[in-house]
């Protein structure tokens, strides 16, 4: 409410500037590996964005987010390949499948934070096994091939540049959507629950339902990311939807700062950079992820976002969760 208006006035111009810069990358780096890299960064950042909403805004520590990335991908690909749908309807299919997964996971939300973490980890592991074994549907480890390029309203996105612009637009829309959502009554209820769950409950907040809604909302970005990944790469293999990926996603959220939406993308940038660029250390990527998280937990639990806030001189971590 009133307490945070001051910060908003700084945020919007900054966000707009960054967005413009990101769009500008397309013509400048068209045809380079960097653009492909950025496509993956945005896709993973999108998946991490949903996770950030669950963890940072609703306090739901979901260690199985990659499963929803996969559910969205497979749901979308099925629609693309078997029903010959175009991209937007495929998004719809992906969201439906991911939501089904969220509904199955719903009973686990009764568990308190850490126990839910464990259960969600098992859930993710279980779905990963299903992805790998149910070969007729998912193609298993070999995967599904010849996935068509994205098509929206007759326009086919073939070039690197087109795909990048598409992914960027979807990411920006999701980011904006979540930002708006968090300013509404729903967002306020989440803040209240985070700062005082008992107080909120005594005021009549249905905490369980609120958390489920947050999860339902949080599985939409990864579902979309799944479809985009499949269409950007033309191939989807079950190996990328496993615990490793869930770990990578939570790493991204933590590096960026659990309380920060843009942090999810910043974290994705860093994590992907580690995974891709320095050829010599690429094999040590998970080691670096682990070491980074371990260090962050000790020194900078708020992630990059908290560092940025400190540098910008902003005070009052009013609505931020304290790690």
């Amino acid at each position: 409410m009133a307490s945070v208006t001051r910060r908003r006035l700084v945020e919007w111009p900054l966000t707009a500037a960054v967005l413009v810069a990101l769009y500008a990358l397309a013509p400048i780096y068209d045809g380079t590996f960097f653009l492909s890299f950025m496509i993956d960064v945005l896709i993973l950042g999108l998946a991490a964005l949903g996770l950030q909403h669950m963890v940072g805004d609703a306090g739901v520590l979901n260690l199985g987010q990659a499963a929803f990335f996969g559910l969205g991908a497979y749901g979308g690909v099925w629609a693309l390949q078997h029903w010959h749908w175009t991209t937007l309807p495929a998004f719809g299919a992906a969201i439906v499948v991911a939501l089904a997964g969220a509904i199955v996971m719903a009973p686990l939300l009764r568990l308190r934070g850490v126990y839910f973490a464990m259960a969600s980890f098992a859930f993710g592991a279980m779905l990963f096994e299903v992805f790998g074994q149910w070969v007729s549907f998912t193609g298993g480890e070999n995967g599904l091939f010849l996935i068509p390029f994205p098509r929206i309203f007759g326009h086919t996105f073939v070039s690197n540049r087109d795909v990048y612009l598409l992914v960027l637009t979807v990411s920006a829309l999701c980011y904006g959507g979540l930002a708006l959502l968090m300013r509404s009554g729903y967002g306020l209820s989440l803040h209240a629950v985070r700062q005082s769950e008992n107080g909120a409950r005594a005021s009549g907040v249905n905490v369980a339902r609120l958390r489920f809604i947050a999860v339902a909302i949080g599985v939409v970005p990864p579902a979309l990311a799944g479809v985009l990944y499949a269409q950007a790469h033309s191939i989807v293999q079950s190996t990328i939807f496993g615990n490793d990926q869930s770990v990578a996603l939570i790493t991204m959220v933590i590096i960026g700062g659990v309380a920060s939406r843009w942090g999810a993308f910043a974290g994705a940038l860093i994590a992907q950079y580690i995974a891709v660029y320095p050829q010599s250390i690429a094999q040590y990527r998970f080691l670096l992820y682990g070491a980074l998280i371990a260090l962050l937990m000790i020194l900078l639990p708020g992630g990059i976002a908290s560092l940025a806030r400190t540098l910008a001189g902003a005070h009052g971590t009013l609505r931020r969760p304290r790690l």
């Binding site: 009764r110 308190r112 098992a122 279980m126 939570i250 371990a294």
Partner: protein, 295 residues
Amino acid sequence: MRLADLPQQIVFGLGLGAIYALVAIGFSLIYRTMGLLSFVHPQFVMLGSVFGYTAIVTLDLPLWAAALPVGIATAVASVAIDQVGLRPIRRRGGAEIAMILATVAWGIVLVELVRQPWAYGPSALSLRSSARPPFEVLGVQVRWDTVGALATAGVLAAALALFLRRTTAGRALRAVGESSRTASLMGIHVERTLALAAAISGFLGGVAGLLVGYLFSAGISTGTIGVKALAAAVIGGFGNVPGAVVGGLLLGVFDNVVAADISATWRDAIVFGLIIVVLIVRVGGLVGRRVLSRG
């Protein structure tokens, strides 16, 4: 499914269960004293298998002689991680989530540190150097290594139970588990006690890992067994040592029977599914001491 094979599968499952029990006990101990769900614990099993490989194959020690050094080495690793990685968070009053994420992180670090050198050595190798022929009890084949695993788990569990009840250090562990603030007011050195808990659970995990290597294979994949053993802790009841034993044995039998009779490929998926079902059921019914959200 051949019914005649069932008793045998159960027996071998008990052996597997004994290993799960060891891991679950260590996990429960950490939970009880630190109030922490340690996701790095399964990786101590992995460390145990790797150290075990070194002890048995490289240093040519017999199994019984290897148990102690392997356990101690893992215990040292456990304490080191606790002091370097977790204690600073405790000291700054970090939230539960931070601690859990830290243990997840350290688990990853351990796996990756082992993956590099281990990638150039045998990654999955049974440590079994000699195989005594199985003996028969009531028409059921019983392997010696199953007996060995059960015996080891039994001895260690009993030793721990005695330790917790009869010794000063053991009582300190229980006191800290109840309330660290009260314990420190009574003069108990909390950090040292927590380090002890880390050492003991590391030891148990390491020995379990040694057994895993002996019965199955050594290497990175053994972490999965550790993860499934967390389920044993859940089934038995968090922080409950006898429960962890029972949970471990039950899970071992279930796991083995499923693998043998239902589906080897879907085995892990089914076991993870069981974890989820049990978590939900446990929440709905019994304990729920600190498990449920308030209300």
